[in-house]
């Protein structure tokens, strides 16, 4: 890292890379907004059966959250192996918790 610590300006290569990254972020954001709008419209229209709507909503949410993690929070970048392990671990424990409370609490 010593090579680009000499000037206040970040070197042009790095700057270009950051810029390209930012463009990807904007596309991500646009997709997230689109997904959100689809989710709200599907519910507001009220034309579909709930058996059908709920899986759609959940899939949209999961994809959107994937975008957040992988693009906004840079989980896709290198040096994020351990964070990814811990987040997936957390998601695994979270799924078990949800299954426990959602499925075997009332009978």
């Amino acid at each position: 890292m010593a090579d680009n610590t000499n000037s206040k300006d970040v070197n042009p290569f790095q700057k270009q890379k950051n810029k390209e990254e930012m463009q990807k972020q904007l596309i991500t954001f646009a997709l997230m907004i689109v997904f959100t709008i689809i989710a709200f419209v599907v519910v507001a229209a009220g034309v579909m059966d709930s058996m059908f709507v709920i899986p759609i909503l959940l899939i949209l949410a999961v994809v959107q959250v994937g975008f957040q993690f992988y693009y906004f929070m840079h989980l896709k970048d290198k040096g994020h192996d351990m964070p990814a392990v811990m987040i997936y671990g957390g998601i695994w424990a979270a799924l078990l918790t949800l299954a426990g409370l959602g499925v075997i609490t009332w009978w």
Partner: protein, 617 residues
């Protein structure tokens, strides 16, 4: 506090040093003294339970007080004794084993300790403020909702604060092991105790939030009138059981896995052999942790989850016996053909293997749903979990203390007293708890205040009580041993056991910066490799240079004190308006300290190179 340096200083200086320290070795001492104190307290409660059960229809304590004692015995032993003692060992050893100068977050390390201590103190304040919690250590609703007085409120707030400390400690060790390993110390070269600390910290990270939420719900119901568990308003008591055991089952693996690491170190050192099946041991640990998350409902077989759910959880539970079995065989295989030294640390380890195996066996028994309907809530279960928790965790803590005492305090514990402790405790333990299997099978329910004559329960209970006093004797001898060692004990060499891992390559006790130069690790059992190749010490991985060290801070103490005061405020705002002063005042102290920490830069300080060079001579 037997270090030579502290004896020269005044008491006030030492006290202030410990109140503000961020050094992992001193925090280990604090955890040891804090956890040790609560261990003695929990032991007294255990003795009271055993005296009460000495004879039929005894009235040594009243029924209500008995409920308080047994609740506090369980809660204290799990949260305030076993956990902090484990943290004491982790703090003392892990940074040294992985070749680090300190933990990743020294400030948070200190905060974790003070949160635990103030949480524990808050919980025990209940004795003097109208009665301790009395709903069992599991705090099942609706009993814990309807329990009158403030006892359960203290349970909620005390555990919430102590639990936050534990979570912080867990994250700290995770980050330490991920980012602070010495050059060459790859994951698969880490000593097994560091590995089990790592896995345990993962369990803490994922298990404690469930307890946090459970305690919040209970707190809201008891103090703020919500309806999570109020069946009249649509609440559901099973939610508490799920949340408690989603935390609670990983918790028992949190209690045992670090000690599996300890036994691995002790066996390998005193057998003069590399640990047999190191890779298998690592993956068995990971597998236990993974499965440990999927079995919580085996505590709820009698709730009525239905045959499908019960069968799934039963199978998953039995599956855990496989990786645990792998471990047992690997330990035996490590000793096989080794040059075995039997001293106190090794005795505890040898005592552990059969004891824990019995506990594991009864574990598989209670994992079977149909049979569990018989065992459930009987003394059989009490015997089972004492065999694993005392036989595993407490034996392990004793083994670890005998093994690492020289590194922690610079003195070797007295062997004769060590052996006396082991034999009295070991015999006392089996006297106390082996018979309880049969008491349980004969139908004695757990948590009952007393029992009637003529049910053939008398003799078993008498034997059990006698055993408890043997254990108490053993513990007292250990305390005397610790004090004796501090005053007159034999000074420890840097490497008294001919050790294999990095902590034995530095002074006993280590300098506050641990390693003058980061060591270069060339394989598993790094020090042993160097010994075998004739050099006997590690090659430095860097030239001698300035060492960066963190500053001490009083803020962790203040934050925890603030939460302690706020906790009292939460408890008493139900009855008195003045308690809001405590609530908001305490929160203000806590948040103010957090803000101060955030606003004031803390860059630490450097130990200059020439000072380090002078110290060589």
């Amino acid at each position: 506090m037997s270090t030579a340096a502290s004896q020269k200083r005044g008491f006030g200086t030492v006290l202030w040093d410990y109140l503000t320290t961020v050094d992992h070795k001193k925090i280990a001492h604090l955890y040891l003294f804090g956890g040790g104190f609560f261990f003695l307290l929990g032991g007294l409660e255990a003795l009271a339970i055993r005296i009460q059960l000495l004879q039929p229809e005894n009235d040594f304590v009243s029924a209500g007080f008995y409920n308080e004692i047994l609740t506090m015995h369980g809660t204290t032993m799990i949260f305030l004794a076993a956990m902090p003692l484990i943290f004491a060992i982790m703090n003392a050893v892990v940074p040294l084993q992985i070749g680090a100068r300190d933990v990743a977050f020294p400030f948070l390390n200190s905060l974790g300790f003070w949160l635990f201590l103030f949480g524990g103190l808050l919980l025990n304040c209940s004795w003097f403020l109208g009665g301790a919690p009395d709903a069992g250590w599991t705090g099942y609703v609706p009993l814990s909702i309807t329990s009158p007085g403030h006892g359960v409120d203290f349970y909620v707030m005390g555990l919430q604060i102590a639990g936050a400390g534990t979570l912080i400690g867990g994250i700290n060790f995770l980050a330490t092991i991920v980012t602070m390993r010495a050059p060459g110390m790859t994951y698969m070269r880490m000593p097994l105790f560091s590995w089990t600390t790592f896995i345990t910290s993962i369990l803490i990270l994922f298990a404690f939030p469930a307890l946090t939420v459970g305690l919040f719900l209970l707190m809201f119901d008891r103090m703020f009138g919500s309806a999570f568990f109020d069946v009249g308003l649509g609440g559901n008591a099973i939610i508490w059981q799920h949340l408690f055991w989603i935390f609670g089952h990983p918790e028992v693996y949190i209690l045992i896995l670090p000690l599996f690491g300890v036994f691995s170190e002790v066996i390998s050192t005193f057998s003069k052999k590399r640990l047999f099946g190191y890779t298998a041991m690592v993956f068995a640990t990971i597998l236990i942790a993974f499965l440990g998350f999927m079995v919580w409902a085996h505590h709820m077989f009698a709730v009525g989850l239905g045959p499908v759910a019960n069968s799934i959880f039963s199978l998953a539970t039995m599956a855990i016996a496989v990786p645990t079995g792998i471990k047992i065989f690997n330990w035996l295989a490590t000793m096989w053909g080794g040059r075995i030294t039997i001293n106190s640390a090794m005795l505890w380890t040898l005592g552990f293997i059969p004891t824990f195996t019995i506990g594991g066996m009864t574990g598989v028994m209670v994992a079977s749903v149909v049979a569990d309907y018989q065992y459930h809530d009987s003394y059989f279960v009490v015997a089972h979990f004492h065999y694993v928790i005392v036989g595993g965790t407490v034996f392990g803590i004793f083994a670890a203390l005998h093994y690492w005492w020289p590194k922690m305090f610079g003195r070797v514990l007295n062997e004769a007293m060590g052996k006396l402790t082991f034999w009295t405790f070991f015999i006392g333990f089996h006297l106390t708890f082996f018979i309880q299997h049969f008491l349980g099978l004969m139908g004695m329910p757990r948590r009952y205040w007393t029992y009637l004559e003529g049910q053939q329960l008398d003799l078993g209970n008498q034997i059990s009580t006698v055993g408890a006093f043997f254990m108490a004797f053993g513990v007292i001898v250990f305390v005397i041993n610790a004090i004796y060692t501090a005053v007159k004990g034999e000074k420890a060499a840097d490497d008294p056991w001919d050790g294999r891992t990095l902590e034995w390559s530095i002074a006993s006790p280590p300098a506050h910066y641990n390693f003058k130069q980061m060591p270069l690790v060339r394989g598993l059992d790094a020090l042993w490799i160097e010994k075998m190749e004739g050099k006997g010490r590690l090659t430095p991985a860097e030239p001698l240079g300035d060492i960066h060290m963190p500053n001490s801070s009083f803020l962790p103490f203040m934050m925890s004190l603030g939460l302690f005061i706020a906790g009292l405020g939460f408890i008493y705002q139900v009855n008195y308006n003045w308690a809001y002063i405590l609530l908001f005042g305490g929160m203000a102290i806590m948040l103010g300290s957090m803000l101060a920490r955030s606003l004031k830069d803390d860059h630490g300080y450097h130990i200059p190179k020439d000072e380090l060079e002078r110290e060589v001579d």
